[in-house]
Amino acid sequence: MLKIDKVSISFGSRKILDDISLEINERSIVAITGKSGTGKSTLLGIISGLMKPDSGKVFFENQDIYRWSDFKRSRFRNRKMGFVFQFFSLLPEVTAYENIMYPAILNPFTSKNIKDEIKELIDFLKLGDIADQYPSTLSGGERQRVAIARAIINKPRIILADEPTGNLDDDTTYDIIDLFKKLKEERGITTLLATHEKKLVENSDISYNLENGALSLQKRKKIRSGKKSAPTLRAVEEKKPAKKRPKKAKP
């Protein structure tokens, strides 16, 4: 579905990403880990079409997204991608409901029944009580669930999540992890995570480590794949992923 081909980018003289290739398949949760400042957010920015790499290409269903116009790329972002960030990133001046609604307003293909769909989504994410509140009155977990609702309102193919649990406590972190899994299983949505949260990595289908501008597949006990270069998910998907985590871990 999404393919990154030999992407490099530098800021000034510092090379942040060096010839990175990655392929992300449908119905998977992919984690990218790495220390702070290694370029995870930069990679997500490039994938989202907001940051043109110095070299290399990004393909979405075999189309080079940087050959599109900004207008087309924006439309693509609106319809095919959802975004979740560490700082929740809600528009502060409108209610939770309106935040969720916003991407749908931009989408000409939004159906007539959008209000029902939002209602359903609100039930699905258990946001019933807070829909009419403003973001500043919500807790971190609630804000992140609103952000996720907004991310999936247009039924995207992939969610890009940049440190989605970075500001959440453990309980809420597991809620969010559950949610991503549920989205994958019930709606077939792929999630690409940038995180250094162990719990997230453990619950992903596949994870990579970003270091010195290079991406390497992280070895895990359950995964016995020898392919280190140009890793793909296909090999992983056949085997059933990670161990079951306990519901609500101890603090």
């Binding site: 957010s41 907001l50 207008f71 790329r73 924006s74 000409p108 939004t110 940049d162």
Partner: protein
């Protein structure tokens, strides 16, 4: 699709209302710009009219005025006819025969002493009033009642506009209400013409009943106008009254309509060779333009200083707005708002502000104009008579257009900044 447009429109307007209030304060400077523009344009139009009308009289583009050698100096009005201050009849004939003109009107002056008697509020006044004659056709197209301007039992006279001032001064001293032009029309009087020589033993005087036909600003001298045939007949009939000094009448100027405007320079040269002076619109406009150039260059200087300051101020405050809203802009970009749309929304916001300030600025400017109009002559007595005409509808549209373009122009670069943001940078700023 309809739903999509409706939703987006609703959303854009909501957004607009939220942001415009804040942005209004920061682009306050446009107000000065627009009110200055309105004031300046009203001032300019009025000045142009003032200079054009007061100093040079009104002329159509194909009309010229032909003067005797003395030009339009004082001695033109002397009742002692000389070669310098009158146009010889033979030359008038020659000019009338010239094929360059479609029409020639002549202004003649009766060279006898004349007085006008009027009863004003119970008192009679009998000032000197030189008598001039012109073909009634001269007023065709200039005066709606020109056909009634012909020799009759009660002679119609046309007086210069300043007569109304004399009347009103008189009324003011006596605590009477002021006259309007309409009220004075039809005002009766008696015309006395003395034909006997100064040294004659017996005074010969003639009396004619007259009434005011209209007032005119077309002729810039103090005297009375009657239909020319009255003067011609009178002069012929009484040519012997003054003994050996035959006085009669003389030509003081000619109003000619040129057939082909292109020939104007050649015609002017021809007339100058005949020892005459010529005034046409082109040299009126030259003089008017010279005066206006001064007004313009001063205004241009002030205007551009205000413009630059305004643009800098707005630009600056928009940059601050962009900075403050950078989070929102970048988030919108991530969610899928295109660059074009962000720029467009920003510009619409700027345009709305432009319209609002255009309107306010226009009314402030108009108010200032009216205020100045009432007080200018108190401060600068030379400008007495300069009537500032408050701005019209056309200017309102101009003011709004200018205001909108200044606002949008100053917002453009900040808008481009806004469109080039992305949350991946903004998030880093926050963290």
């Amino acid at each position: 699709m309809f739903r999509y447009i409706y939703r987006n429109l609703k959303f854009t307007i909501k957004d607009l209302l939220k942001n415009t209030a804040k942005a209004l304060i920061s682009s306050f400077g446009i107000l000065f710009l627009i009110s200055f523009l309105v004031l300046y344009l009203s001032l300019r139009t009025s000045m142009k009219d003032y200079i054009g009308e007061k100093l040079f009289g009104k002329l159509a583009i194909n009309e010229i005025v032909i003067y005797p050698k003395a030009g339009y100096g004082k001695d033109v009005y002397s009742t002692i006819a000389s070669k310098r201050n009158t146009i010889r009849p033979s030359i008038v004939k020659r000019i009338r025969r010239m094929k360059d003109f479609s029409r020639v009107y002549s202004l003649i002056r009766l060279n006898y002493e004349s007085k006008i008697l009027v009863e004003l509020m119970g008192r009679s006044k009998k000032p000197h009033a030189p008598l001039y004659g012109i073909e009634p056709g001269f007023f065709a197209g200039k005066n709606r009642r020109w056909r009634q301007f012909r020799t009759k039992a009660v002679l119609p006279i046309i007086a210069p506009k300043l007569v109304i001032k004399l009347f009103n001064n008189y009324a003011a001293v006596r605590g009477m209400p002021q006259f309007t032009e309409k009220q004075l029309i039809g005002f009766p009087g008696e015309l006395y013409i003395k034909t006997s020589d100064y040294y004659a033993e017996e005074e010969i005087k003639y009396k004619f009943p007259v009434k005011l036909h209209s007032l005119t600003s077309d002729l810039e001298f103090s005297g009375l106008l009657v239909p020319n045939d009255f003067i011609v007949k009178f002069a012929r009939k009484h040519s012997r009254d003054s003994g050996k000094y035959k006085k009669g009448y003389s030509y003081v100027r000619l109003f000619a309509r040129v057939k082909n405007i292109k020939d104007l320079p050649a015609i002017t040269k021809k007339l100058q060779k005949m020892g005459l002076k010529v005034k046409s619109q082109s040299d009126i406009s030259k003089k008017t333009n010279r005066a206006l150039e001064i007004v313009d260059s001063v205004s241009l200087l002030i205007g551009s200083i205000i413009l630059i300051l305004t643009v800098i101020a707005i630009f600056n405050s928009y940059l601050i707005i962009v900075h403050n809203r950078s989070y929102g802009f970048s988030l919108k970009r991530v969610i899928g708002v295109s660059k074009i749309r962000i720029v467009f929304n920003f510009l619409i916001e700027a345009a709305v502000i432009g319209v609002i300030y255009g309107l306010i600025g226009f009314f402030v400017g108009s108010y200032l104009t009216t205020y100045l109009s009432l007080n200018l002559s108190k401060w600068i007595p030379v400008l007495k008579g300069l009537v500032l005409v408050p701005a019209g509808k056309a200017l309102l549209i101009k003011a709004i257009l200018l205001s909108v373009s200044v606002s949008c122009l100053s917002a453009l670069i900040p808008a481009l900044f806004a469109s080039n943001m992305n949350l991946f940078k903004a998030v880093r700023k926050m963290g």
